[in-house]
């Protein structure tokens, strides 16, 4: 057991928001793949996540990791009703942009592009920030995510009226709330347990 954090003096952290695939380096020691217990392995939900230092580190507390992961996947992947995938990813990217999580923003900006094909709009969100003009429906989703991300929370009737005016119904608004709320969870883990790194090209 270490009493010391792991430092990465050789790492050059990305200094801009980017669509590039990033790596992530932990500040606390994750269990090695071989050392994962049955319970920890199950808590990863996807077996492939045993390759990720981030998920192996979180597997130190498997019960909350598993519940977190299943919440995450259903908020974003369950399209049986509610907001389009692209708009959930937009809320995640906007939240990450506003909190300042370069790693999370890169992942969810790429997802937003995959589902919307709006490369230039997503790139502007990263480059300009949450004030970028992305068209009224996306602007309303970004503004709602930003208001919900503020502490104290600034989300209320004004943001809801704007979402409704641009065509979102209550089930879709609930998905935007959940997506932005969830990234206030994810950003804090990513930002505080390790640091992003450029991947070798």
């Amino acid at each position: 057991m270490t009493d010391h954090v792991i430092l990465h003096p050789e790492n050059r952290e990305p200094v801009e928001f980017t669509l590039a695939l990033l790596d992530w380096l932990p500040w606390l020691e994750p269990p090695t793949e071989d050392a994962l217990t049955e319970r920890q392995r199950a808590s990863l939900v996807d077996a492939a996540r045993s390759k990720s230092a981030y998920f192996r580190l979180l597997a130190r507390d498997p019960d909350i990791l598993e519940a977190r992961t299943r919440t995450d996947k259903d908020i974003f992947f369950n399209t049986s009703s509610g907001a389009p995938r692209a708009e959930r990813e937009l809320a995640a990217a906007a939240t990450s942009r506003h909190n300042g999580c370069i790693y999370c923003a890169s992942v969810h900006a790429r997802h937003a592009i995959t589902y919307s094909k709006r490369v230039e709009d997503v790139r502007r969100l990263l480059d300009v920030g949450v004030g970028a003009d992305l068209g009224e429906r996306w602007n309303a989703i970004v503004a709602a995510s930003v208001a919900l991300t503020a502490t104290p929370i600034a989300f209320g009737s004004a943001q809801i009226a704007r979402l409704r005016a641009t065509g979102l119904d209550d089930a879709e608004i609930v998905d935007v709330i959940n997506a932005a709320a969830f990234f206030n969870w994810a950003n804090r883990l990513m930002l505080s347990l390790g640091e992003p790194a450029a991947t070798a090209t």
């Binding site: 057991m1 580190l57 598993e66 519940a67 300042g100 932005a180 505080s192």
Partner: protein, 199 residues
């Protein structure tokens, strides 16, 4: 084990309300948001983070968000653990002292430095450190950073927790606790606001 759905309860949604019915369409989200609450506040084995520490942190986080009803919910959880009066007074005083507005913080030096936002770096007052103890005093400083300026996080912050007696696994659980609450509080406030304009 808590049978009440905590998010519905805190948002004031009755089981047959329109928003509870919308939530019912995504039973996996509902079930695992609740399972997350239970994993953190009704753990099978609290391990390295005592229940008193967990509920005290939750009171602090809800208080920093200025959410009285959510803070009262976690305070009732804390009350079941019989904290001393001086502990509760120190907790209340630190919530008041810690309140500010976020997110703020600095980016790694470079083009984003133009977006750096200055804000306070909080520590527990000397007067309240004795009542809260060394572990929780260190935790509260970290928790305040996670709530208001998470982009300032660094390895040095985790070293301070290790130095104060938190284990590696204990720090993971503490981080999950604060991060989960950042989610839960926003889900509750968002649903409550939506219910308020849907009547």
């Amino acid at each position: 084990m808590s049978k009440v759905d905590v998010i519905d309860f805190l948002a004031g949604l009755s089981a047959d309300s329109p928003l509870a019915l919308i939530r019912d369409r995504k039973p996996v989200t509902r079930e695992h948001a609740q399972a997350s609450y239970r994993a953190l506040f009704e753990p099978a084995d609290p391990g390295d983070d005592s229940l008193l520490e967990r509920f005290a942190v939750a009171c602090f986080v809800a208080g920093l968000h200025d959410q009285d009803e959510i803070a009262a919910f976690y305070r009732s959880g804390l009350a079941r653990l019989a904290p001393t009066e001086s502990f509760l007074q120190a907790l209340s005083a630190e919530i008041t002292a810690g309140r500010t507005t976020g997110p703020y913080g600095a980016y790694p030096k470079g083009p984003l430095s133009a977006e750096d936002v200055a804000g306070p770096v909080y520590t527990v007052s000397e007067a309240n450190q004795a009542a809260l103890g060394g572990r929780l005093s260190a935790a509260f400083a970290h928790v305040h950073m996670l709530v208001f300026h998470p982009r300032d996080a660094s390895a040095a912050h985790l070293q301070k927790l290790l130095d104060a007696g938190w284990s590696n696994t204990g720090i993971v659980t503490l981080s999950q606790l604060v991060a989960f609450l950042a989610f839960q509080i926003r889900a509750v406030v968002g649903l409550r606001a939506l219910a308020g304009v849907s009547a």
